[in-house]
Amino acid sequence: MTIKSAEATVSEATATGSQLVSLEPVHKRNVGTDFLPAMFENISVNLSAAERRIATLGARRTVKKAWQAAWLIRAIECIDLTTLAGDDTPGKVERLCAKARNPLRADLVRALGLGDYKLTTGAVCVYPMMVATAVKALEGSGVPVASVATGFPAGLTPMKDRLAEIKFAVGEGAEEIDIVISRRHVLTGDWVALYGEVRAMREACGEAHMKAILSTGELKTLSNVYKASMVSMMAGADFVKTSTGMEAVNATLPVSLVMVRAVRDYLDFTGQICGFKPAGGIRSAKEAIAWLVLMKEELGHDWLKPDLFRFGASSLLGDIERQLEHNVTGRYSSADRHGMA
């Protein structure tokens, strides 16, 4: 097995040159592979070493001043601004979409010299019943709508209903589908079943990009996380995503480390590219930077853009707005100075 430099391989395919940074999806979609157990069955992830890597990673890299501002802008561009609540209404979703179009106060955008820079969040993420509202609200903005599907969050509804739900959301205009995997397949080691399930969901997605939510907080071990990531990618996932946001433990950096290393190995083995989305519990600008550092260090520059990296978050944006105001003014900001979603 030969290993290509992840960064070099991907960069060749990246369109650059225009004045603005290209944030359009430029990578060939992952089409998956056959079910190849050799790619994951012998893996064993060492928890302590993963934790140590994460503990020192935050201490090894930092960004200050203009760099911090730029990195936080990039974090905004990678946010899947999310509402997944039982009390969501069209009004709530429209407010969210408005925020996605204009995530940062205009005077701050200008102060940062980004007046003619089209700053939006990466996507808006809602339940299937809210997709149509969101699509309408975002019309012309270029911000895609992502929908959770497949019996989110537990995924324990009949397969035909789960697939039908995907098709419904796609039909409503969702360009991205966040599916949940059956955790029981992982916990019982039934990798063939997991592969088959994700493969079927990918087919149901059609042109829509598919993010596979692993619910890592329920898979418990890092070895399970690695294997579930690898099987999902083999089955054609465009992104692997940590959590629904509904588990007791959601996105953590050690889990993310293992998932991005799986993405890296998958690229090494197959030459195909997969994105990564941590979701749930990411609330501070500081955490957002930590995740971006993780992507840059473990994967590379190309995973610092929204076509390969997203945050699933609802309250993260608010903290980033306050930090950016501080960056501009030198004064610590308060939440009520920034428009809510």
Partner: protein
């Protein structure tokens, strides 16, 4: 495009320098130069001095006075003056002082971190997150030992004034490792800082003054090798502790030979980093970063030899190269750097020379694509470097580089991995990467090194001993075992010197005397067989009133050589359970008791009164039973630095110990020395009392009947010092116990410098072998083992 736009394109990190203005103000306040810290205050900086440079840019940071012999003398005198009062304090009172030092280090943590980075060139991340917190931790831990010293170490007292010499790679941390246990034990200190990096030690001296440490308890002198030599050679110190190169360690061993100073040496290494094929490879790659690109590779325990299972080597190296591309080398004060500056230009030259030698030897060099952009014009920077296709026999695999250079080789089987790992004169640390418990622990047990990290590297804690096997030195720093380096058995201070031995009679036939019965043949005992002396000479042994008791072989260097070989072959003894060894010892006691009358007779012939002879045999039987009892009980300890770290302090045998017995109590002293050694799994080459060897020689018949395997105890008779000289110079003898008079002590300590085997002596003092407080117990057991600390992080 504005700045932020550009950054959005590159997503670079940008500069993130740590503010150094307060440290610079402190340096500016000392523009006139630093003196020494003696008797609680700083001396004026006068006389010869040296400049301290910032290795990151070559600037001069400070001027520091060089301590000459007079300065050292003053410092030692102040430490001696302070000793009595410091020892008179209660443990609690000393604990309060050490606790105050810990607190002060924490209060000034960032100041010390920035100063260390400026002085040494290591990154602020390391000084801030590793060095300084470990310094505080060390003082806290040893505040506790001060509190507990009296109750935990009964029968021991403070060694006295300590001379301590520290290296430049972890300046303040090495100071803490030396100073904290010394103060806790009740010793006072004269410390010599490293000439490249004296500044944090100076700041620490200010802290001592500020924290109210009594004057003279801690003294600091600065300078280079000559200052160190003056300190090491000073008659006023009772203990010398050194961390540095093996070369200087050897010099100090020779210099202090026969001086009665306790010595601990923490020296070089070429530590293996073993990656098995079922390891978490990404974790192991990150481990390499922490092993050899930590502190620019200027780490005595750096994992500098990667030993990778052949089947995964290509993938491992590919991942490693990708990881190396991501490393950042530059301004040490920048918070986003992985590596800072190498300590000085001379070190860059040494690293470069060894790298050139490696290329010339045919190893394959790889450096990241950005390596050529590193400039040495202003600062001492060296890129991370990987050598593959390294032959075990090459310079790269054998010699310490002390720079960011990894030499990688492959292995086929677990046994071969350990064999390659042990193929070194060093034995400081080892790192083992495997997700298989059996594989990992098997390697950990068979590696010859003082520290083994399983699925980790460079973990340190004040509660766990740190120190090496083989030419990596002896003595431990940290934990209970580290405290013992600063304590002396109380009886020794009052003991009288041993009388010098009479020379052996000429090895020629002597007329007269003769045995009325059948002639008794006394041979040597090697590999479980009786052996004639290689020399073909025997010397007469005489007893009470000059009666000739018999003749014994005059052993020579070849007999020692044969005995050492036999001892090495008996390695199965070390693999036996403590229980099995205990049974052999009990049986030995039983069989000796059966022949008690005969042995008492032998001792009486030799000159003991009949009641004394009887008492000696009884004591010998009891002593054997004492160590039979210990054989399955002196079994190490669990250290607890973290609940998810299983940290074991294992007592391992030395393999082969050379023992030179005294003439006093010839049977009892022989038994008192040999039994703890073999109870702990060692095999011994022992020279019995040269004047009265017969009782020990008779013992081999008892050994034979007691199932002591051949080669476990090898007895060579002859002149003590001649034979000890050979054992001291024998590289396959791991430790030497010499219980002769002072002159011999000087000789064996000097000659042991070759392979730096630890030498245990009584400094020519007479030990009362009949007194259990002196003749048996933990002191002997502690000497009979070397402690291996195994760290195993775990968790799912």
């Amino acid at each position: 495009m504005n700045e932020i736009r550009e950054i959005l394109d590159t997503m670079d990190y940008g500069p993130a320098p740590e503010d150094d203005k307060d440290v610079r103000a402190w340096l500016a306040g000392h523009e006139d130069g630093f003196g020494h810290f003696v008797g609680g205050s700083f001396t004026k900086a006068k006389g010869e001095s040296f400049e301290v440079h910032n290795p990151a840019n070559g600037e001069t940071l400070a001027k520091v006075a060089i301590a000459d012999a007079k300065d050292v003398d003053r410092a030692v005198n102040e430490a001696s003056k302070a000793l009595k009062k410091w020892q008179a304090l209660s443990g609690n009172q000393r604990a309060r002082h050490i606790y105050a030092l810990a607190r002060h280090v924490q209060k000034h943590a960032r100041f010390l971190a920035v100063l260390e980075t400026l002085d040494n060139g290591k990154t602020i991340r390391e000084t801030r997150d590793i060095d300084i917190p470990l310094v505080a931790r060390h003082f806290y831990h040893h505040a506790g030992w001060a509190e507990l010293c009296e109750s935990e170490f009964p029968g021991y007292e403070a060694a006295g004034v300590c001379g301590q010499i520290i290296p430049w790679n972890f300046p303040l941390l090495m100071l803490a490792w030396k100073v904290a246990p010394a103060l806790a034990a009740g010793c006072t200190v004269v410390l010599k800082s490293a000439e490249h990096t004296p500044l944090t030690a100076i700041a620490f001296a200010e802290i001592c003054a500020g924290a109210g440490l009594p004057a003279g308890v801690f003294n600091l002198v600065n300078g280079a090798g000559e200052t160190g030599a003056a300190l090491a050679g000073h008659e006023g110190i009772s203990k010398l502790a050194f961390t540095g190169s093996t070369e200087v360690g050897r010099i100090l061993r020779r210099q202090t030979a026969g001086s009665g100073k306790k010595l601990s040496l923490e020296l070089g290494g070429k530590s293996p980093f073993i990656v098995f094929d079922n390891a978490d490879i990404d974790a192991a790659v990150e481990g390499v970063v922490d092993a050899i690109w930590f502190n620019q590779g200027e780490v005595c325990c750096a994992g500098s030899r990667a030993i990778v299972q052949e089947g995964i080597a290509e993938r491992f190296h590919a991942k490693l190269r990708a990881r190396m591309e991501k490393l950042r080398v530059g301004d040490p004060l920048d918070k986003s750097m992985d590596m800072g500056a190498v300590v000085a230009p001379v070190q860059i030259r040494e690293i470069s020379a060894k790298v050139e030698a490696g290329i010339a030897e045919g190893a394959k060099l790889w450096q990241p694509s950005w390596a050529k952009t590193i400039s040495n014009a202003d600062g001492c920077f060296y890129p991370p470097t990987l050598f593959t296709d390294v032959a075990p026999s090459s310079t790269l695999a054998q010699e310490e580089i002390f720079g960011p250079v990894l030499a990688s080789m492959t292995f086929r089987t677990p046994a071969e991995a350990v064999q390659l790992a042990n193929n070194s004169r060093y034995g400081l640390a080892a790192s083992v990467w495997s997700q298989n418990l059996d594989e990992a622990f098997d390697a950990a047990r068979t590696l010859k090194s003082g520290i083994v990290w399983i699925n980790a590297t460079n973990l340190f804690d004040a509660s766990a001993g740190f120190g090496g096997y083989k030419e990596s030195g002896f003595g431990r720093e940290g934990g209970r075992e580290g405290m013992l380096e600063y304590l002396t058995p109380s009886w020794q201070k009052k003991a009288k010197p041993l009388p010098g031995s009479d020379p052996l009679p000429a090895p020629v036939p002597v007329p007269g005397g003769g045995n009325p019965g059948l002639d008794r043949t006394v041979k040597m005992y090697i590999g479980g067989k009786q052996a004639r002396p290689d020399s073909g000479y025997s010397y007469p042994v005489t007893g009470k009133g000059g009666t000739r008791l018999g003749e014994v072989g005059l052993g020579n260097r070849k007999d020692i050589r044969n005995a050492v070989e036999a001892a090495h072959k008996a390695s199965a003894w070390s693999g036996m359970t403590g229980h099995a060894r205990a049974q052999v010892l009990y049986f030995l006691a039983e069989n000796l008791e059966l022949r008690a009358a005969e042995f008492a007779g032998r001792l009486a012939e030799a000159g003991a009164s009949s009641s004394a002879a009887k008492r000696e045999v009884e004591a010998s039987v009891a002593r054997i039973m004492h160590y039979a009892a210990w054989a399955d009980k002196y079994d190490g300890a669990v250290r607890a630095p973290d609940k998810r770290l299983l940290t074991l302090a294992l007592n391992e045998p030395w393999d082969v110990i050379g023992i030179s017995c005294p003439d006093q109590a010839p049977l009892l002293s022989f038994v008192s020395l040999v039994m703890p050694a073999i109870a702990m799994g060692n095999r011994v080459v022992v020279t019995p009392s040269p004047q009265q060897p017969l009782s020990a020689c008779d013992l081999y018949q008892v050994l034979d009947t007691s199932d002591v395997p051949g080669g476990v105890i090898n007895i060579v008779t002859g002149d003590r010092d001649t034979l000890a000289d050979t054992m001291a110079k024998h590289d396959d003898v791991a430790a030497l116990w010499y219980f002769g008079a002072g002159q011999g002590v000087e000789m064996v300590e000097r000659e042991s410098a070759g392979n730096l085997k630890p030498v245990w002596t009584d400094n020519g003092k007479a030990r009362d072998w009949f007194d259990p407080a002196q003749g048996q117990g933990r002191e002997f057991l502690f000497r009979a083992v070397r402690i291996k600390t195994i760290w195993t992080p775990f968790g799912v």
